[in-house]
């Protein structure tokens, strides 16, 4: 228990939908639905799922960029402080924020165009008022150097940089305060494939140097496969499968994971892909299906799946939410 840096219990977020002139509440969207998981210190947890599965919302909930509807988020930091994150007041929250940071998806909208790179990276340090100006300058230079930013770039404004460089600025900003935990929200999906590799390697280097724990959110399993130790698969705001990377790729137990893995593009043109095509779209979260949320698109669905919602069951370290987890023998990822 003590080696978990983050414990999330029954976290939920509902967004109300208002309609009409009088703004009557007409429905709620359950973006994140009763999610529980832990992250071990120093590991990288991959969080995958297609668009609309609630992974970004989950990432923002555990940083309190959005306030959750229900649940608990508990951090155990290296100095042995346990923090019930959702119950902090403003002042405590500000202090805790130096230990948890975020790297955003869009390198263009996440940097303030009116601030120099130096000011962007220094913002957390300045806002917390714990360092003198020269200390801040030193720290900024040090972190920029680590993130392979040219020191003379610090005077420039973000519009002078390419996507990959901007993302490195974003990483430098997140790491400037020496955080223990960083949420990477689709941090490489907006970049070119060649740049993606560069940024992922930067993430890995930083982890090695600074002992950081990552929650790595992505919709692309191949990236998550590269960087993560453990992987959580989300579908419609719920966790459907959770396992070590190797276990998950060798022995997927949820049909949704199988379909996701079969869709990973194969870089070798001689090897054939055999993607499993799911029927239909991801269901409207305002109008969720009965039983297992995945059953309308599942090739293996039975009558039971239509009526009963499966709960997350443990098979050793492997957790699956599927009624037929034991009987199905799903295809493993080609590479393994």
């Amino acid at each position: 228990m003590e080696d978990n840096i983050l414990v999330v219990k029954n976290l939920s977020k509902e967004f109300p939908i208002y309609k009409g002139l009088l703004r009557k509440k007409s429905a709620t969207v359950k973006a994140v639905n009763d999610v529980s998981f832990e992250i071990k210190r120093g590991e990288t947890l991959g969080l995958v799922g297609e668009s609309g599965s609630g992974k970004t919302t989950l990432g923002r909930l555990i940083l309190r960029a959005i306030e959750p509807t229900a649940g608990e988020v508990i951090y155990n930091f290296a100095d042995e402080t346990n923090v019930d994150f959702l119950k902090l007041n403003k002042k405590q929250l500000k202090k805790t924020r130096t230990k948890i940071q975020m790297v955003f998806q869009d390198p263009y909208s996440s940097l303030n165009p009116r601030m120099t790179v130096r000011d962007i990276i220094a913002e957390t340090l300045v806002a917390n008022k714990t360092m003198s100006r020269s200390e801040i300058d030193n720290r900024v230079r040090e972190i920029a150097d680590l993130c392979k930013l040219n020191l003379e770039h610090l005077r420039r404004f973000p519009h002078a940089f390419s996507g990959g460089q901007r993302q490195r600025i974003g990483i430098a900003r997140a790491l400037a305060v020496n955080p223990e935990f960083v949420v990477c929200d689709e941090s490489v999906s907006a970049l070119d494939v060649s740049v993606q590799a560069e940024i992922i390697n930067l993430f890995k280097e930083m982890q090695a140097i600074k002992d950081i724990t990552y929650l790595f959110i992505a919709h692309d399993l191949s990236i998550v496969e590269h960087i993560s130790d453990r992987i959580i698969v989300m579908y419609l705001g719920q966790i459907v499968e959770e396992a070590d990377k190797r276990t998950l790729f060798e022995n997927p137990m949820h049909p949704y994971t199988e379909a996701l893995m079969s869709a990973i593009p194969e870089p070798d043109p001689l090897r054939k892909m055999a993607p499993i095509f799911l029927e239909g779209e991801i269901p409207n979260p305002m109008n969720l299906p009965t039983g297992c949320y995945f059953h309308p698109r599942c090739h293996y669905a039975t009558e039971k799946c239509k009526k009963e919602m499966p709960c997350l069951r443990c098979f050793g370290n492997h957790k699956v939410a599927c009624h037929r987890a034991e009987e199905l023998h799903l295809k493993q990822y080609i590479k393994y």
């Binding site: 869009d106 601030m115 120099t116 806002a127 519009h159």
Partner: protein, 371 residues
Amino acid sequence: MKKQDENAKLKYYTASQWQLIWWRFRKHRLSIVGMTILGIFIIFALFPEFFAPYSATDRNGESILCPPSKIVFKNAEGGFSLAPQVYGFKRERNRETLKMEYVVDESNIQPLKFFVKGEKYKLFGFLPGSIHLYGVDNGFVHLWGTDTMARDIFSRTIFATRSSLSIGILGLMIAFIIGLLIGGVSGYFGGWVDNFFQRLTEFIRSIPTYPLWMGVAAAMPREWGPKTVYFMMTIILGFIGWTTLARRIRSQIISIREADFIVAAKLCGASDMRIIFKHMIPTFISYVIVDLTISFPNMILSETSLSFLGLGLRPPVTSWGVLLRSAQNLNSIVNSPWMFIPAIFVILAVLSFSFVGDGLRDAADPYSEKS
């Protein structure tokens, strides 16, 4: 050559937003012209006592409705000279129409002198001085003629610049503060607050402005002194002019409220105040300044038209509107058209502000340019 390119690039990359705006603004010829004219006007407004040969209320004896003085570049022998001379006027009765008329008096010639000692004044109310930009030693010089009370129209126009510009600036300040407050609250909090303020804005916008101004201005008691009226005018203009600004600020705040870099600032632990002043306002302040510049002519025109209608400023305060009001009769149109010269100032000011606003609008978003 390549080295120069590099330097130019480096300069571009490290330039702040205002530098980029200025570089782009510079390319706009008309805006630069407009800005120069405005600069001159502002200097006029700051030191009218120096530029005007006489004070706004000085009366030149009998010369009522005297036409503009004739300026010639001649020396005593009749040849060309760089030093300008001014002819005086004689009053003569026209034998055919039996009207009193001003006739150029060739015998009364005065050299026009610069930086002459004239009437004493106090700059900003406390700096004593007596030097005027130009003047004559004997007699009077009226570049733009005189009005029905024998006052120098040029001097009056220069003095009017001060009240017309300042009323515009003050009115705009009030409008800006109200707009920032209402637009900011409306955009930042959203929900029913937003709804309320937006409906209020629409309500005010739906009232035709001139009747509204006239109504409010007419409600001002006649016994108020000219100064009180002056301040009331700025307040009225401000209280009615904030709507467009409020909308602009609201829409800007809404558009960046959810932006990633604002979330990032929040996650950095920046306080609400810091987010608003350091992260939000700098991103849209340039647009607000454009709006301010563009709505400035409206302010001046409103003041001018209200004063012209006799509902705004009243003599002895001189504003462009007050000057034009005294010109609004058939007699002036037929016999003393120089009374309309102050209109040139109004037109120039309005045009200049529009040009500057145009240039600023094009330059306000320096990051839209593909680099």
